[in-house]
Amino acid sequence: MKVLLKGGRVIDPSAGRDGEFDVLIDEGRVALIDRDLPRDGCEVFELKKGWIVAPGLIDIHVHLREPGQEHKETIASGAAAAVAGGFTALACMPNTEPVNDHAGITQFILKKAAEANLARVYPIGAVSLGSKGEQLAELGEQKSAGCVAFSDDGKPVATALLMRRALEYAGMLGMPIVDHCEDPSLKADGVAHEGFYASALGLRGIPGVAESLMVERDVSLAELTGAHVHICHMSARQSLRAVRAGKERGVRVTCEVAPHHFILTDEALDGPIKYDTNLKMNPPLREGADRDAMLEGIADGTVDVIATDHAPHHADEKMVEFDRAPFGITGLETAVPLVFDRLVHAGRIGVVRAIELLSTNPARVLNLPGGSLADGSPADVVVIDPERRTTVDVARQQSKSKNTPFQGWDLRGAVAFTLVGGRVVHRLNS
Amino acid sequence: MPEVMDADRMSRALTRIAHEILERNRGLHELALVGIRTRGVPIARRLARALKEINGEDVPTGALDITLYRDDLMRTAVGPQPVIRRTEIPFSIDDRKILLVDDVLYTGRTIRAALDALIDFGRPRAIQLVVLVDRGHRELPIKADYVGKNVPTSLRESVQVRLQEIDRIDEVVIESIDQPGSAEVKS
């Protein structure tokens, strides 16, 4: 079975490739990338000029909610949302119910993902049992079952000692610790960024330092142990400074930023809908200087990955008082339009850097297959129309949950096709 | 804008009414004046002055805001709430004869509201009504005891009473409703 993607601009940063090429896919693998490939015997996709052909995007921070909270999202609906967003693979966080802290749950997740047969799913296992921060989980067993990294996401790895041991142990297994950086005592019962807007609206604040303090801890411990720490959903400028300084010293630290943190600020809380719980997430939307720092880090290479922290919540759960609403917004299906409209078209980064952030680097950071169009690799491919204007419409999204602040936004850049293993799993309706 | 009463006529009408009040009530004993805001108040004061000149006694005088008793309150879907002003009745109205004073008597609804308000203040022995102008078109069974002048009007007209104390001129004029600046409040 041969598939030919003809006439697009092929961008594969891992191979240094950027140009007009045809891509031949055979038996689900990338067979050949060259110019003027013959059409015969192939299912041909004639791509429009300027359309981008890139290695399938990989979102390394996704909450799939299954097992335990299937009313928000299931592995199947999450995988469908992923491919609709151009993601051929995703890594899912362990804060399900029960927490994914042992092999059986990882096996369950992989089974469900295989049944859905859409995006590839790579589970991230818990660092500690129940993510309670007391007892190290069986990281070796979890790795054997298929986990690609470890995290207690939703919370930070509880103590410096536990983080140290986890880094050492996971380092032994060649795996990173992925940390949700936040000092619990400074975060306390905060619900929004500590700044003018939370203050005026009477919302308890979370200072940026709550995040950066923990980032600094983790960078120091990664330095001590020589292991790899990956910083989740970075939002504060102080965190960026700590990561940059660590990298300069040769520490094995990587970091990710979510689209809402480089687009929105806490000023959005003062919008036409006051106390809109679709603006409530952790870490919160911060002030302009933090958003600008994230943009700076994205442009200058300090930021390795754009990951969405896709956090679906049911409408009933979000339609409550701001204090009581759960943290989080969806992200899989808005990432590409936001990255293209607000970074690429805004002139902040080029398309090549965008693909690096969304595909090449996520694969590298978690050591995942994919993120490249190397010959013989599985044909996980995304085709993006960078000029296509769409309006974000939750009613037409695949995710079960509709909690996004971007509803109604007009954005330039959309996914035209998504292929997993050479099979078209998503196609944009014209 | 035909002028129905000039300053002179208004003054003579009030003097005449003062005499009528004294005659009918056989003196000022237990009488009090309550002017209905806004223009009933200066008229009540002038009456008090006239009564004092004739009779030598002070007549207690108060001001009543009937906004909160209007029957069209909260009903008109269009337009803002009428502004409320203070009611000042610094004496007990129990067992007194109250002379309610207003500038124009029209549908009678203002007087109905004033009666409700007064009865919330106490139990007067009697209430009599003084108006400077009666323009007809009653919608309720209300009649004035003392009238400055009867002015027949059509529904397309309005009667404007202007007073020195508020408008810097004394006059009563009829305006056609179609004219600008002739906003009508049915009283």
């Binding site: 919302l203 701001f322 | 008090a48």
Partner: protein, 329 residues
């Protein structure tokens, strides 16, 4: 009334006869002219409380529900009296006895109440923004009786009414506000109102209890109560709660009083005609000395009685608006 005295009609607020919004969610968004309208209307309402029959039929047939998710005797009874004086039918729901304790969500609680078609809902809630949510899920007009740490607009209005009664104006006055500023909704509403009306506001409290980004509130700040009270026209004291010792805000109530308590000695630094205010309930000997609270400069009890008049004014002005407006998105 002296018949020869010149006419002094109560001044009509220039140019504005109604409030712009059908809800009162906060002082934020109110213009100076709207604030003046409420205060002027309250003056007329105050007189009703001096009559033998303290009732007018203005809101006859209207239903007002008082939905109090936080315990409150003072504010709730103040609203109840205001509603009854306007002849409204009132219903008070204090949630300790309601289905909310059984886990019913705000949205379901409100929908059940809405099924009885109230014209207005007066709500107090522990979460900032709860009244705003209410406007999105219900049809009734909403009056915020205090939401979390956010606003308590009728308190600020009655405070302004009290100040205006004594000082004749708000513009140009020096107002010192002392206490737990961080957690206070009364503070936020008062700062907004006083700034809108042109007063100078000085906030005083421990550094641990200063609101973040307070510099953008348009006020001056100090942690010295002597400095704050110096030359003040109005000194407003806010509650400091016992629980602030958890969370390390203050070491003890004793030290708080030593550093920030309003004593007669400290009060001497203010202007000779200063007025001392407190939204209540007071912690005697913690934020304010009893001698000051009961002293000649205190207008604390007047604040309470003015509360009824101000709330009557708010109910009257909102009830008259067209209630067929569409629900906010």
């Amino acid at each position: 009334m002296n018949v020869d005295a010149p006419v002094t009609e109560t001044p009509v607020t220039a140019g504005i006869k109604e409030l712009k919004s059908r809800h009162l969610l906060g002082i934020a968004g109110l213009e100076a002219a709207e604030i003046s309208l409420i205060l002027d209307t309250a003056e007329a309402m105050k007189e009703i409380g001096n009559r033998a029959i303290k009732k007018v039929p203005a809101l006859r047939g209207r239903t007002v529900v008082n939905l109090f998710f936080e315990p409150s005797t003072r504010t709730r009874t103040s609203f109840e009296i205001a509603e009854k004086r306007l002849s409204a039918d009132t219903l008070s729901i204090a949630t300790a006895t309601s289905s909310v304790t059984k886990g019913e969500s705000l949205i379901d609680t409100v929908r059940n109440i809405e099924a009885m078609s109230p014209d207005m809902i007066v709500m107090r809630h522990a979460s900032s923004g709860a009244p705003h949510l209410l406007t999105r899920i219900g049809r009734a007009a909403v009056i915020n009786a205090g939401d979390g740490m956010h606003e308590h607009p009728t308190q600020a209005l009655l405070d302004a009414f009290t100040i205006r009664e004594h000082k004749g104006r708000l513009a140009g006055l020096k107002v010192a506000i002392v206490g737990d500023l961080l957690h206070s909704r009364v503070l936020r509403s008062n700062v907004l109102l006083l700034r809108t009306m042109g007063a100078d506001v000085c906030l005083c409290g421990p550094a641990t209890l200063m609101p973040p980004a307070v510099g953008r509130f348009g006020v001056s700040t100090t942690s010295s109560i002597d400095e704050a009270v110096e030359g003040a026209d109005v000194v407003m004291m806010l509650r400091i709660q016992q629980e602030r010792m958890h969370g390390h805000f203050i070491p003890s109530l004793r030290e708080y009083f030593a550093l920030f308590g309003l004593t007669p000695e400290r009060l001497r630094r203010a202007r000779a005609d200063v007025i001392v205010m407190h939204p209540g309930p007071m912690n005697r000997g913690v934020e304010i000395d009893s001698e000051v609270a009961d002293g000649p400069y205190s207008v604390i009890l007047e604040q309470v009685s003015n509360g009824v008049a101000v709330r009557m004014a708010v109910l009257y002005l909102l009830a008259g608006r067209d209630s067929a407006e569409p629900i906010d998105a």
